[in-house]
Every structure is written in C-alpha cells, then in structure tokens.
Symmetry: D2
C-alpha cells in the first residue's frame, strides 16, 4: 500500500488529487494538509467527496509527513519553496504541482513570479515531470516538478514539430483558452459567476509566468532558442485548456506527414491522441488525455496545431499521478 499526503489539499488541484486517488486499492491518502481549512472535514468543503474521502484537513506540521511514500505539494506558487525543504527528508518522493521548481534560474523566477526565490539551491534538482518528454528521468527521480497547465498543453503540441526541425523556432504564436478553475478556488469579484458568464477576457499579456517555462522546455528539448508569443484567455466554462499554436513551416509538407511525425514522437505516450481532424475540448475534460490536431494553413504555410487538455487532470492532478505511477514503477495509466 502506497501512502500519500497532499499539502495544499483544499484547492482545486488538491481536491482533484483526492477524487482521482480515492478509488485506488493500492494507494491510501493519509494526510490532507490545508492551513486555512484545518480541522474541517474534507466533505464539508467538497461535498462531492462525501463517502469517498473520510479525512479532516490538518495544519502543516513536518512531523505529520514522516514516512509517507509520496507527498504531493499543491500550494500556490511561492509557498512550496518554504515547504519542500522541510518535507524532502521525511517522505519517499515529492511531486510539486506549483511553479516554484520548474524554472532553472532564480532571476527568471523573480521576474515572472514577482517574488524572490528563497530556495535557489533546489532549482534544477527536480525533474520536469512531463512524461512524454522525460519518462526515464521521472522513473528515477525522487523530486518532480509537475508542469504547468498551459505549458503541458502548449509543449505537447509543439514538441514534435520543433525537435524535428520542420518549423522555425521563432515567431511562434500561442493563443490559449482556459476554464475558470485555472484561477484556483478564489473569492475575487472578477472571478464571480455573474462577471464571467458569457464573457471572455485575455490577461497577463506579455508577462504570464508560464512564458519562460514553455520557452525553456521547448528550447532544451530542441536544442535551439525558441521565441514565442503567449496570450492566455479566460472563457466561460469551468474546466479545460484549448491552445491554438501557430508556427512557420520551413518547407511545404502535408498533414499526413505531420500526423506520421507526431504519431512516431508519441508512440510511447498513452495519453496523447494525434488527429488529423480539429479536436474539441469536451473530448478531454475529466480525462488525462491531450488531444492534438494538425492543420496547415495553405495561404500562409503555417502549421496550426490545436492542443487541448483538462487543466485539472493532465494539467495538474492527473499528470501528477501519472508521474507518481512512473516513479513507483506502477503502470503509467493506472487509475487515469
């Protein structure tokens, strides 16, 4: 029996971890840590988990985690860097779902997250937990930085094209649409139902913290500088990310060749589905799949990739469990 703790369990990623782990016979959640809800029953905050998770939230105490096999850290960015050092010696594996350990540079972190990094010595010690890119390293790792939701979606859509060299590494444009759960469990008026019903708004143009994550992972994987625009938008639904990716094809090619290229690249990736039709977001919601559709815009000779995931599953909790499965030698798709 694998024992798990979730630190930051009262947010949406934490709740999704509970939802996905609860039915497993081989895993037991032993601790759910959430400062603001300490003492409350999980099903008081998440009635959907009544009958499935019979636990109370607890305040963070390093000793509570002693001997736990896997600690999922689902804290807001900026909080994990204080917690992870206290946890690492006590638990078997750490999977951080936030942004604190995805970048390699403390300066870049500070620029985009707008706060100094307080555990810079840990930067670079986590494996970037995108199984479709780093499966072997994840298997051997004790510390995984789970990718961001937008980066998961955008990187999976571009990896085969960039690593094969069929598109130019500059001038890439990423437009991404996210359901509102991406903003977390929040009380701001701007995220209230009435404000967002029938509404769309772009945000953080030019300074979203996922820009350096996408850029550096794609650059690292393809061995070249990558320059891209990234514009995130909120759309009126709860779950899902839909990214439309534009890149200049270096030569004329066909959709068939593109599909073949992507199929080869993702031959060992059970959660990537490559399509020659245009994907829709509803196909992946509540699943760990990433659906990727390939098109060529004839009058511009641009590759247009549609990539779509559930931000809370493949973009957060599902991918974290996929990583846990790999780290523990359990079949990758278990419970997903």
């Amino acid at each position: 029996m694998v024992t798990c703790a979730i630190i930051g369990a009262s947010g949406y990623s934490g709740a999704e971890l509970m939802r996905l782990l609860a039915p497993r016979m081989d895993v037991r959640i032993t601790r759910v840590i959430a400062r603001s809800s300490a003492g409350e029953r999980v099903d008081a905050i998440y009635p959907s988990l009544a009958g499935r998770v019979d636990l109370r939230f607890e305040a963070f105490e390093p000793a509570l985690l002693e001997g736990v096999d896997v600690a999922f850290v689902a804290l807001p960015s900026g909080e994990a860097m204080a917690v992870v050092p206290e946890v690492q010696g006590r638990v078997g594996r750490v999977i951080d779902l936030g942004g604190d350990f995805r970048l390699l540079s403390a300066a870049q972190y500070e620029q985009y997250y707008r706060k100094p990094h307080t555990a810079p010595s840990l930067l670079g010690t986590a494996v970037y937990g995108l199984p479709e890119l780093n499966k072997d390293q994840i298997r051997q790792s004790r510390f995984v930085a789970n990718p961001g939701c937008y980066p998961t979606c955008a990187i999976l859509g571009l990896l085969p094209a960039l690593t094969s060299g069929i598109v130019a590494p500059g001038g890439i444009v990423i437009n991404a649409l996210s359901g509102v759960s991406g903003a977390g469990r929040t009380s701001a008026v701007d995220y209230s139902y009435t404000e967002l019903h029938g509404n769309v708004r772009a945000y953080k143009i030019g300074n979203h913290q996922h820009i350096p994550e996408i850029q550096s992972v794609l650059a690292g994987a393809s061995g070249q500088d990558v320059a891209l625009s990234f514009i995130p938008h909120l759309i009126p639904t709860a779950r899902g990310i839909y990214a439309t990716l534009h890149a200049d094809l270096k030569q004329k090619t066909t959709v068939e060749d593109l599909v073949a290229l992507y199929d080869r690249y993702y031959a060992e990736a059970p959660f990537v589905r490559v399509k020659r039709t245009i994907p829709q977001m509803s196909s992946v919601v509540y699943t760990n799949y990433c659906d990727i559709g390939l098109s060529i815009e004839p009058h511009t000779n641009k590759l247009v990739v549609i990539s779509t995931i559930d931000n809370l599953v493949k973009g957060a909790a599902g991918q974290a469990i996929q990583n846990m499965n790999l780290m523990l030698g359990i079949p990758e798709t278990t419970s997903l």
Copy 2:
C-alpha cells in the same frame, strides 16, 4: 429635464439603472453614490458604460442630493432605512429598490431580515411599487418601495387567480430559479464561476425574506389569508427568474378561460404578456416584460403558472424606472 441620483450605484441594480437611463433625453443622472467606490470613474468598474455614463462615484453626503428630482436607493437591505430619512426632505421622489420598506411590520422585518428595523415610523408610508397592482397610488406617491425580484415574478403570476377566487389560497407552492446576478456583486467563493458552472442549488429554504412580501401582497390584494411554500434556487446563468407556481383550482376550468381571465386582469399592463404556451426565460432577459404561461395539470386539477422576468430589469431597475415614469406623469413604457 428630470435629474436623478442613484444611491448604491456600484451594485448590479445601480449599474442597470445607469444602463437604462443613460440613453434618455429627458433624464439626467447627476449623482452616483457608492461608498466603497467613491472617487472611481463609473466605467472603471463597469467598462460597458464607457462612453455612456461620464461620472465618478461619490461618498454619501445628504447635501449632494439637494434638489434632485428622483433618488433611486439601490442599497443592500438594512442600509436604506438609515439613508431614506436623510434623503426624503431633499429630493422630489424616492424609489427604494431594497427590502427595507416593503413590509408593514417591524417584527416581521426583524424575523426575516435578521436585524431590527431602525426606521419603523416609515413602514407603511411607501407605496408598494408594482404598477400592475397599484398604478394609481404610484402615480400620486413620493415614496415607492420597489418590489423584490422573486415577489414581482410570483405575485404577477398569481394575482388574477387569487383575486378572482378560482384557486384555493392555501397550499400554494412556488419554485423559483434565479440567475446568479440576483446575489449581487459579490466576492464569496460560493458565487465564483467555477463553483456555479453546471451547478444548481436551492437556498434559504423556509426563511427567505421574500416569503412575507409575497404572502402579504397577495393576501392584501385578494382579501384573504394566503399560505405558500417558496423555494428559491440558483441556476447557472447570470440573469432571469423563472417561477413555477402551483395552486389548487377550486373547480374544473379550461386554459382558454384562464387566459381570458388573465388577459382581462392585465389589460392595462403593457409589460405583462399572457400566453397559453409555456414561456421561456430567454424571451424576457434584457427586457421589462413578465411572460406568464397558463397550464392545467389534468390529473391533479392544479393550475400551473409559469412566470418569468429579468431580475435586474422588471425585478429591479426596469420596474423602478417604470415607477418613476408613472410618478412623473411620463408614459409608463418610456425607455423600457
């Protein structure tokens, strides 16, 4: 030129008053009072009003209202009773959109609003501003209590049946569905987009403050005690109320006779549309109409009335303007 002030202008009813009054040539909004937003431009909070309302919110100061023709009070319940006494001497007419002056009894107010009434001497001095019931009194009034959103919808659906005596005054059941704007401009997690998307929840079962309002208006109009259940629900949309009303027919009748009865009752009511088909909520959203559909459930011989309005228009700002038109001798439908 009629001058207007809106007190409590930064909430949704206040914004809707601005939206509906801004295009009028015969009316000018001179003051928009909102404590929490004092100093801010209206279009900073409501970008939809850019180019239409060129004002800044101001903190409440009785002197600001001196000489204004019509003061709309759109404050949360409990705040108007402090403000109205200070306003009444300074302005021509007062229309209160909240609940502070709709009930006649301070004790009943305290029971349902859970706070003592601090201006009990004013109770009973306002005309209940339902033009379909009290048009003549409204015309002569200087102080109108604008009906609540649920009461407007429910009362209009039941008035002809109860006043004509065709249904029993007891055992009435009202199930009402409301868009989330009915909860006001709020930052509570429970009203966040993610929580309410794809969701429904009933609330305040047995103790909603609109119960005594509906009961007492129907009782007063029909000259008998009225007993009713009222269960409000939030549904995943922004605007609109949809009320399903069940009452026991005393005798067998036909839908044709019911339609004739309602048509007669509402012959002078330009915003009530009586139908023998089942209304849909989208027909009234962004309008001042109340659509009423009449059915008989054959196996129970119950009258089933569907009544639907836009909670922010006929249920608040639109009805307030309808009342203003009547009070000022302007045609009732102007700008609506």
Copy 3:
C-alpha cells in the same frame, strides 16, 4: 470475462455505458449496435472515446448477440419493445434503459407514450431496476427495466418519507430541473446551444411519461395511492437532475429525526448520501451518487427534499451497470 453488447449505442446513454465500461478488466464490450451510425467507428462520433473503445457501430442483427452475457438496450422509447423479444433468448441478461418495460399497464403506456405497446405480454416480466428498492429481486433477475432519470431522482427522495408514513400521500409537488443531455443527442433547433444558453423552460406539463412511473413505484412501495404534480424543466447545463420535492408532514418533526429515518432506510445503499444541508448538483455530476438533503419549511410544515443525480450516470448508464453488477454477483459499486 463478462461480454456485453449495447443496442442503441450511439446515443448519450450508450456512449456513457462505453465510457464507464471501457476501463473494466472484467468486462468486455463486444458489440455496439446503432442503425444510423452502422459502419462508423465509435470514436468518429465520440472522439472522447478514442483510445478507449476500438469498435465500429453495427446494424441490429439478432444473431450478432448470440451468447453475449449482458445486453444493454439503450434505444429511444418505443423501439425496445420490438428488440427485446428478439434478444432475450440469445443473451444471458437484458437491461433496458428505456421506458418500454417500466409500466405494468399497456393502456397507461399508450396514454403517456402516445403509441400502442406491441409486446404487452412482457409487461410485468422485468424487475424495476432501482437497487435501493429492489436489490434482491434484481440479483435474481434476467430482465431489468432500468428506471428513468427523473423517477430515480424523485423516488429516492420520497421513498423513506412515504413508506414510513410520515407524509401525506397526496398533494405532493415535484419540480425537477434537468441538464439538456436528458433530451438525448438531437438536432432540433429548440435544443440548439443558442436557444438554450441563459434559458430555462418547463415542458410537458401534466403529461410527461415519467408521471405514472413515479406514481406507481411510490404507490407500490408504500402500499397506498400516491398523488403528485410533476413539472420538468430544462436548464442551461449539460448534465444533472435537481429535484425539489414538497410533501405535507403529518406531524411536527425535526430534521434530525428525518435524517435518522433516511439514514436507516439507505443503510445498505452505497450510492445514496443523506445530508442535513442543501445539496448542490455539481457534487453528483459524473458520479453514480444520489445526494438527498432534508429540510422542513416551518411556516407550512412541509417536508422539502432536494434530490440530485447525474442523469446519464445514476439516471441511466451508471445505474444500469450497478444493476449488471448485482445481477452477476459482482460487488455493487464496481467501476462506479
């Protein structure tokens, strides 16, 4: 390995059966029958099932079903009565998700379904597949009529109150709200996105085919005539039913006593969650749970029960699988 066939597999209930059965190791779907889509791949119609169901739809041919362990019939009402007689000899068990075998009387069927029943000799031969009521009979049955979505929700909410005799069996009012998937996979303009966004409409007032089903099951279980109003409404979401049930308490009681009564009644029902707070629909969506909340309206002494399910899971495919589990002696909650 249990083999299953789905007849009428291209509708939403069929797709939901595939979604829920696909991950099972102990069950294999061998045939998916759908006349209109015969020859097409399942994932061409339901891209969400790509990588999960690797089958093509086939036209109905009785011989295709020879030797199958469980046949799920997910046809529109009126079509199953032609198909079931041809299937019964060939397969181990039949679970019909439609309405053709839920009523006992051909006359009542004709009145509410507006077509004659063409297999009246089979009426009464199916067990009504509500496990919370008929678990033992289901275990021994070879032919189950899976309850309707509204009936599941309404009956579960009323059974303990009616069978214990604490409420009057007459004058019950049921208002139920359904997501649009309840209308099936349909191309009618009235069910188009634009028409239903931000909209609500009641429908089939007084003549919905689930009225006799609810009435007769509750009457049978409680041993008395039951009279009820039932008004269904479409609301702007895809999944979920939310029923608000009103019944007259015969005596004064407390919510605590009601909760105790319901808890006892559902002690062996793993999918019913009894609550003293008001349930919300989102808690049950994508699950097989029925959440039941109990309130007393003090001024009317009415019991107000909120009951909520996912119409495609507990209201259709999930309950069908729960029935299959019971019929086959598999633990009831397997894969649900």
Copy 4:
C-alpha cells in the same frame, strides 16, 4: 416615416433587426420575408418579440417590396445574389448583411464560398459598410454590403496600426472566438446545447470565407499587401466575438503612443472605445460598441490588440442600422 423590409427575417440577424428597429418612432417595419416560416406570426418563432412586432412572415415576392425605403437582406450567403437584383429597382436602399457582395472578385468568391457567383456584374457596386472606414461613401450609397462579424472585429482592431505603417503587413495572426449564434439558427447536432456546453472548437482552419474579406479591406485601406492567419473558434456562449490580433511592431513604441494613434483614428467613430486595459467581451454584448485594447508584448515586440464586439449587433444588425442611419442622413447613433 421610413419604411423597412427585412428579407430573411427569421434568422438571428433578422430577429435582431426587428428587436432594434421595433422601438423606433421614425421607422416602421412593413414586411418580414422568410420563406420557410411564411404565414407564421413573428412572435411564434421569436416569443421575445411579442408585443413589439405584430407581423407575419411572408414568402418572397418582389412586388411586396415596391416603394419600401430600406430593404435589409439577411439571407444566408449565396441567396442574396439572386434576390438583390430583383429588389434594387423597387426600393430606395439595399443593405445586404450577407457575404455575397463584399468581395470584388467572382473567382475569390467561388474559392471561399464554394459556389459560383451568379450576379458578378454587381460585384464592386456596393459600398463596404464599415462606417469607421467609409462613412462618406456610405452616406451617398444606395447599396451597402454590411461587413461580416469577424471582419468587423478584426479590421477595426488593425486599421490604425496598418494604415499608419507602425506594424509589418505580413505575419499577422488573428485568433477569434465567437459565440454560437454566429452559426445562425441551425438544427445540426454539432450546434446542440449538449455538444457545445463546456466545449471549444476551432473550425474552417485555412479556408474561412472571412479571410479574403479581412485581407482585401486591410490591403485597400493601407495600400499594401497584407498577409494574415485567421483561426476562428466556437466558445460556449451565445453572443460576442473576441479577437486577439498579433502584429510585429516595426520599432519600439509605447502603449501611450498606440492609444493616441488609435484615439486619433477613431475620433469620429462613436462606437469604437479605445482602452489601455484589456477589454472583456461582456462589455459589448447587446451593444453596438467595438472595444479595442492595446498591449505590447515586450519579449517579442509584438503589438497585441484585443478587439471585441457583439456579433449580432456591431457584427450584423446594429451595424446595418448604423449604415441605414448614415444613408438616410439620420444621426449615426440613433437607436443604437
């Protein structure tokens, strides 16, 4: 009194024309032509228009239009080119809301609309009805081709940047999101509520008929070839278009300078609101405004313009009425 006829009145653009024209004192709708609904009352199809439009749909007959001042043609693309020649001699002005007369080349029409143009002699005889670009020509015209919804939104967002020469005319990327009403009043399963709730899908990648319209208008206005990508998406709401436009700035500049440039360009455009903050779609829904927000993405030096309109108002019926006002010498903003 101006008399109007609407040909193709039963679609959403036709209904929106009725909604916007009905309250006018200076305009009377005399004919509403709609083949498929001929004989039916307008409010039978659009119950929201009950009490506002008291007309029946009629089948098309050229003689019916004799002497009408303004004919709005709101037919599906491909149908107007048969009707306009029959109408032109009989009415004062023609405003075509479809795509048949927006392009100058029959070959281009055939390529993108996938049917031959049957009235090529009329190509080029209509003024392109974008008042912000062609106000004087519209004033003198008797035949206006009302712009498409996406083109209105995209062109308004790019005109000042391209005509001033601050951005490169190549490599422009347009991602546009549309509410589902953009697909018209349709019965296809793909546009049903259940399919589109919580869903997003791109469509017509590389071959949408608005590509040549956007390109040729921008090229004509800026006197240079313009090359652009255009990817339209359906999002889960009913109304509104939200376009995110990316273009390469030729030099470093500031948002302040951009706002000043756009403000100058739109000094005489009462329906364009230029902002330095990011617009949201809800601000323009149910209005004739186009909100434009200007940003610079620092790491790419790209201009990012957000442009948003209501597809049925500024993108169709509202703009058509704006054009009518101009053609008739009525103040441009009347009733809008």
